[in-house]
């Protein structure tokens, strides 16, 4: 029997995963959400910003990573919009600015005034070099915004010359350049608070920066998005997805357990039959 189980077609496993995600999405269970302290910290930081103050939102991700970050980015943008914060958008992945357009269009900012309430300055090539260059001189680094307007003429840019003129930097991050580069070039040397909405793979790497205070708040993947939505009192993909997360996590754990039972079973069988 173990032999047979060990040879199970991987497509059966795929089907199991597909169902464990689909069923709770279509028929929600309503298990609720919990809010992590790092998410609460970012929420409180945004809450405490004075209306009219400016925030850099950097879309440092590709479409692959954005799939995981979209819900967190939407919740965050809606909060910034509700607080009346000026959002200065940019990106250090070449796909960043287009994703930023997508994100603005899917948030409450679509009802606000482009150029006054929010801008998309576009992409600056050069990874960490570009972040360092931008930090010292924002209008000089982005002479025109992504839509082709002259940056200094945009009302949203009033009083903004360097990264020191913004109250907070938020990077929507899935790789390099990401949080470490922002901390190295902007957070630590210029004293600007850095926060992030980040893919789950990188969450454990962020704990040293959270504990040392180099990072002031984080939305970790879908769990963080769900938490942020619940703090906002709204319901988006984050909250809707958490039931599916619960069931699929149990499924994966069950697969690991079953796989190990089968492994031990075939191993004891094989020692009689010889060879692996």
């Amino acid at each position: 029997m173990f032999e047979k189980l060990a040879r199970m077609d991987r497509r059966i496993i795929y089907a199991v995963v597909f169902l464990s995600l689909s069923i709770p999405l279509i028929w929600p269970i309503g298990l609720g959400v919990t809010v992590g302290p790092e998410t609460k910290e970012l929420y409180n930081t945004v809450e405490s910003l004075a209306p009219g103050s400016a925030v850099i939102l950097s879309m440092d991700t590709s479409p692959g990573g954005y799939g995981e970050l979209a819900s967190g980015a939407a919740a965050l943008l809606n909060h910034l919009s509700r607080q009346g914060i000026r959002v200065i958008g940019m990106g250090f992945f070449d796909t960043g600015p287009s994703l930023l357009e997508t994100a603005f269009g899917g948030s409450d900012f679509k009802n606000k005034q482009y150029g006054t309430d929010y801008v998309n300055l576009g992409y600056l090539a050069g990874s960490e070099t570009a972040i360092a260059r931008m930090a010292k001189d924002i209008p000089g680094s982005f002479p025109r915004d992504y839509r082709g307007n002259l940056t200094p003429e945009l009302p949203a840019m009033e009083g903004i010359s360097s990264a020191q003129d913004v109250a907070l930097v938020i990077t929507i991050s899935s790789g390099t350049p990401g949080v470490p580069e922002w901390i190295r070039q902007v957070g630590d040397p210029m004293g600007v608070p850095i926060a992030t909405a980040i893919v789950a793979v990188n969450v454990p790497n962020m704990t040293p920066y959270m504990q040392s205070g180099q990072l002031s708040g984080m939305i970790p993947s879908m769990k963080g998005a769900a938490g942020y939505e619940s703090l906002m009192g709204t319901s988006g993909l984050g909250i809707r997805g958490m039931d599916a997360q619960s069931i699929s996590h149990l499924t994966i754990l069950a697969l690991v357990l079953l796989g190990n039972v089968v492994y031990l079973g075939t191993k004891s069988g094989a020692s009689r039959g010889g060879g692996r």
């Binding site: 040397p189 790497n205 060879g275």
Partner: protein
């Protein structure tokens, strides 16, 4: 010109670290022998190849799916250095060795590495060019093609050393698919968990570079490793002194670090 406030300690520490590195690289260049501690995964390579000989099955090697022009280049070079060692062993024990490649520019380098290893062992006629295979430059397509090869040729040992990304999850299954002894290594720390959970031995992070430097007797690299060790001792000493004095109520060192 004066030092910027808040960066004074960092500046001096950087100078000390650079000093350690330059000193030890200079010593290494002069021919000082530098020994590297035992690395478990490295010792297991010979055992794995011996096992393949007994079972009469090939070994498989992948030097990562990274290129040679970007940040992950050092990992690719480390993967090739270990490939050279593995190839010498397979040549010596007459075990067929399959090498699969994802990056076109790495292909000729892998070919040359294996050919040279067989030559050094005096087995150039046993060198089989068809065993070095370029599969696909797309990451998931590479992984899928590798599954086909593994299922057909059933290697008894599987080595994967270099830079890996999301496809590491798929590659992790390779060994279990045919019951191969699996030895892996990468400095992509986000992929290490999947390798550890699915391999018999895993070289973690810097271990990959240390193993490669040790096998290839690259003196500069070995010198650099020694210098890094010296820097680690200094950092550890700062932590220990700081913790002890802090425990007894002194914040002197913590304040010094902020200077």
């Amino acid at each position: 010109m004066t030092l910027v406030k808040g960066r004074v300690f960092s500046f001096w520490l950087l100078l000390v670290i650079i000093g350690c590195l330059i000193y030890s690289m200079w010593r290494a260049k002069k021919g000082k022998t530098i020994n590297i501690r035992k690395i478990a995964g490295l010792d297991a390579i010979e055992e794995a190849i011996g096992r393949s000989t007994e079972m009469g099955r090939p070994v498989h090697y992948c030097p990562g799916i990274g290129g040679i022009g970007a940040a992950e280049a050092p990992q690719t070079f480390a993967g090739l250095a270990i490939l050279s060692y593995v190839s010498r062993l397979t040549a010596r024990f007459d075990v067929p060795e399959i090498v699969t490649i994802r990056q076109p520019e790495v292909f000729p380098m892998a070919e040359e590495t294996v050919r040279q290893a067989y030559l050094e062992e005096g087995k150039s006629d046993a060198y089989e060019p068809g065993n070095i295979r370029f599969l696909s430059s797309q990451q998931f397509a590479y992984a899928a093609a590798l599954f086909g090869i593994i299922a057909r040729e059933k290697p008894a040992a599987n080595f994967m050393m270099g830079a890996f990304w999301a496809e590491a999850l798929m590659l992790a299954e390779v060994g279990s698919e045919v019951g191969a002894l699996q030895i892996t290594g990468t400095a992509q720390l986000s992929q290490v968990p999947f390798f550890v959970a699915s391999s018999d031995y895993t070289l973690i992070g810097e271990e990959l570079f240390a193993a490669a430097a040790y096998l290839s007797r690259d003196q500069m690299q070995l010198g650099s490793i020694l210098g890094q060790d010296m820097a680690k001792v200094i950092v550890a000493a700062i932590i220990i002194t700081g913790v002890i004095s802090r425990t007894f109520g002194s914040t002197f060192l913590a304040n010094l670090l902020s200077k």
